[in-house]
Amino acid sequence: MQDVVLAMLAKEPAHGYELRSRLRAALGPLGEAMNAGQIYVTLTRLGKAGLVTSQRAEGLPDRPERRVYVLTPEGQQRVATWLAEVNWPKPDLAEFHLKLVAAATARLADPVTLVDAQRREVLRRLRDAQRAALDRSMDPVAGLLLEGVVLRLRADLEWLEACERLWAQHDPTGRKAGA
């Protein structure tokens, strides 16, 4: 979040509420859950770290909290470093995989039942994302993010199908069926 806020300040100094609406526009429906106070907490932290400074803006006496935030040279440096970083979120499938292995080994539960439950959850998320993506009024930039979410959920479902195939063939003694 800190890096994102810094990068959004790189174009020009801005009020907190401007940053917030820019973020929400870029996130589309996924931005709706964004906490209103989050941006201000982040800005305060960035200020303490010396990455931004702020000044009270003039000319708007009727509204409270008119601070304009500006990147410091350190902040600019940090944005450059962030952009150059190669980083990609890893889907963590190991835990669920191990849950299936443990369930089958100790006969705690039928792995296929666990797969079914997981599929319901992934389908539910896919439904939300897919329905949002069908909205024709969606901003194409925000739509791109949704497309990524949909693609990843589809990949998860495909993997769950593979899990189901394997565990449905496994007999309860833990040996592969037909082996």
Partner: protein, 240 residues
């Protein structure tokens, strides 16, 4: 919005092969589809979902069990009665569109109504209305060969709606479509769902299942999971 049962199966089974290599394509399936429900049956290739759809639509006869459409039992009907019922009360959408290549889009859509004895004027008017509804009013005079895959499938959906069917049955309707065309078809299904059209779609495309009211998972000819979609979504709760 859902109401009384429109489509029902009881103990539905379809067996292939002899005693030594018996395949239970559909294995004692019970199903109730209420009016207005959009139902997706999902499962891997070969799980029996297409066979199930053909049995429900009277395109194949089951080895065992019953199929009821509204209050009529259809699996024991004569071929002739069944053909009439399919023409009057069911709409079909297939993966490979099954349009008549030598007929224009509007002619494809109005064909069933003409065969049912409707006047050409009325049939044409309704066909144009349906093409407009699927966003293809300006393609009405095109032959299928001049349309993209997604457009052809939308014509096929318009055709499926021409007789105001009790149920639309669709077999992998996005199976041959690219991503953008899939989105168009999904939008259309979402509109039909909202309009209260009863829909049964068999698919392995989770995007279709994702916009259905109810999702059934099928494996080895039987239902293994049956989920009504939760009411409202929370898109961004919890991290993946």
């Amino acid at each position: 919005m859902t109401g009384s049962t429109v489509l029902q199966a009881r103990g539905l089974s379809m067996l292939y092969g002899g005693e030594r290599a018996l395949v239970r394509a559909v294995d004692e399936v019970d199903l109730n589809v209420p009016a207005g429900q959009s139902l997706a049956v999902m499962g891997p290739s070969g799980c029996g979902k297409s066979t199930l759809l053909y049995l429900l639509g009277g395109l194949q006869r089951p080895t065992d069990g019953e199929v009821w459409l509204a209050d009529r039992r259809i699996d024991t009907m004569s071929e002739r009665a069944l053909a009439r019922l399919r023409r009057d009360s069911l709409g079909f959408v297939f993966q490979s569109f099954h349009l008549m290549d030598e007929l224009t889009a509007v002619e494809n859509v109005e064909l069933a109504a003409l065969l049912a004895g409707q006047s050409p004027g009325r049939a044409r008017k309704r066909a144009m209305y349906l093409l407009d509804r699927v966003g293809l009013a300006d393609r009405a005079r095109h032959l299928p060969s001049a349309l993209s895959g997604g457009q052809r499938q939308r014509v096929a959906i318009a055709r499926a709606l021409s007789n105001e069917p009790l149920v639309v049955l669709a077999d992998e309707p996005t199976g041959n479509l690219d991503s953008a065309a899939t989105l168009d078809v999904l939008r259309l299904f979402e509109e039909l769902r909202t309009a209260g059209q009863t829909l049964v779609v068999v698919t392995h495309d989770p995007r279709i299942a994702a916009v259905a009211d109810r999702v059934i998972a099928m494996r080895d000819g039987a239902f293994v999971d049956d989920v009504a979609s939760a009411a409202t979504g929370t898109l961004y709760d919890g991290r993946r």
